[in-house]
Symmetry: none
Subunit: 224 residues, 2 copies
């Protein structure tokens, strides 16, 4: 789950980032309106946290531009002012939610969660493939009576494999989606996690295997 923070007050931006990364969001952070629009236009984020007062280009303009370009990433607007006129123009320009500074971390998290949930496609808590189940909210992989805990990265990799059940997913893809765009993780990082997952699948006696297709990537496959 990827979040973009556009906030020029760096201290606040850092605080936001910390709150979100603690909840396992992948966070990118920029500090002015131009960068904000650039990054947001990539369309890769699940939520954008957008300050209104920004250098070069304000939050309203950014929201407006995004919607005009059919980027429908949910936007959570931030502002110090609590005036009605602001609220109106914020929501008109395309924001989905609105929050006035200062705010409690809980409130931020609640709103971000609400916005990402609304993106719909059902946030799958309980999912699976072949003969195993995976509960994303408890990070538990299970088959029958046997179960085992997955840590964060294991879970993310497995979720990707499940989501791409009928195609080969490349290591590059896994890296950008689990480690992030600017990470310097390499193929071996993915390989290591694939190995961890295989061991755990084996531990719960699953007959699903993570097949590797050389030069292409991985795919889940149910054995017998």
């Amino acid at each position: 789950m990827q979040v973009l923070i556009v906030e020029d007050e760096k201290r606040l931006a850092r605080a936001l980032k910390q709150i979100l990364t603690e909840q396992k969001y992948m966070v990118d952070m920029v500090h002015d309106g131009n960068d904000g629009l650039d990054y947001a236009m990539s369309g890769i984020y699940d939520v954008i946290i957008l300050d209104i007062m920004l250098p070069y280009r304000d939050g309203f303009q950014i929201a407006y531009e995004l919607r005009r370009n059919k980027i429908d990433t949910p936007i959570l607007m931030l502002t110090a002012k609590d005036t009605v006129p602001d609220k109106v123009s914020g929501l008109n320009s395309g924001a989905d939610d609105y929050m006035t500074k200062p705010f409690a971390p809980e409130e931020l998290l609640a709103r971000v969660k609400a916005l990402t949930r609304r993106r719909g496609e059902v946030i799958l808590d309980e999912t699976g493939f072949g003969d195993f189940n995976f509960n994303a909210s408890t990070c538990t992989l299970s088959k029958g009576a046997k179960s085992v805990h997955l840590n964060y990265k294991e879970s993310e990799v497995l979720k990707l494999l499940i989501a791409n059940r009928d195609t080969i997913i490349s290591k590059e893809d896994i890296i950008t989606k689990v480690w992030g765009y600017d990470s310097d993780a390499g193929a071996n990082n993915v390989e290591a996690y694939i190995s961890f997952l295989r061991r755990k699948l084996h531990f719960i006696n699953s007959d699903t295997e993570i097949k590797s297709i050389k030069k292409m990537g991985y795919r889940l496959e149910q054995k017998p």
Copy 2:
């Protein structure tokens, strides 16, 4: 369908890559002008997405060099500037299309699609010829119940044969498109892979054959 991204801003490059790979393009990514020219010279790409501002060698130079060397891969130029002089020199140097940052993923996809369509091909996921099917996203060749896995180069060669279904494709062509322009692969490399493919077509009981026309190349042919 292969795309080369030449863009030094790594985050943007990765975002581009993600957008394209989600649409089943095969994407290679380099981050400076030298690598950009090297990769592009291979001639194996269907589109090159080329930033203008690059370390070592800018986008104009690369486009110019490519055209001078008779590499006619369509080029989509990217730039932050939206000035007319830039547009002109971009198109003069050999670019086919032009896009200013920031942009929406849809726009990118529309332009890339337009450039590749012009080449006359389609984005193939599930394709085939005669009595067999080939699923490019799982690298699986099948006819009826029988199926077999193709490795990377086998897939690439087969895709070329299918794409050129009505014409003879030469070994030189296959070499430059699968091995790259500066590879030292020879005719025998192609012959070996043709042989591998024939064996696998036979294995799935296909009646399609890869016909060889001496001194000319190969062509797919459906028997009776």
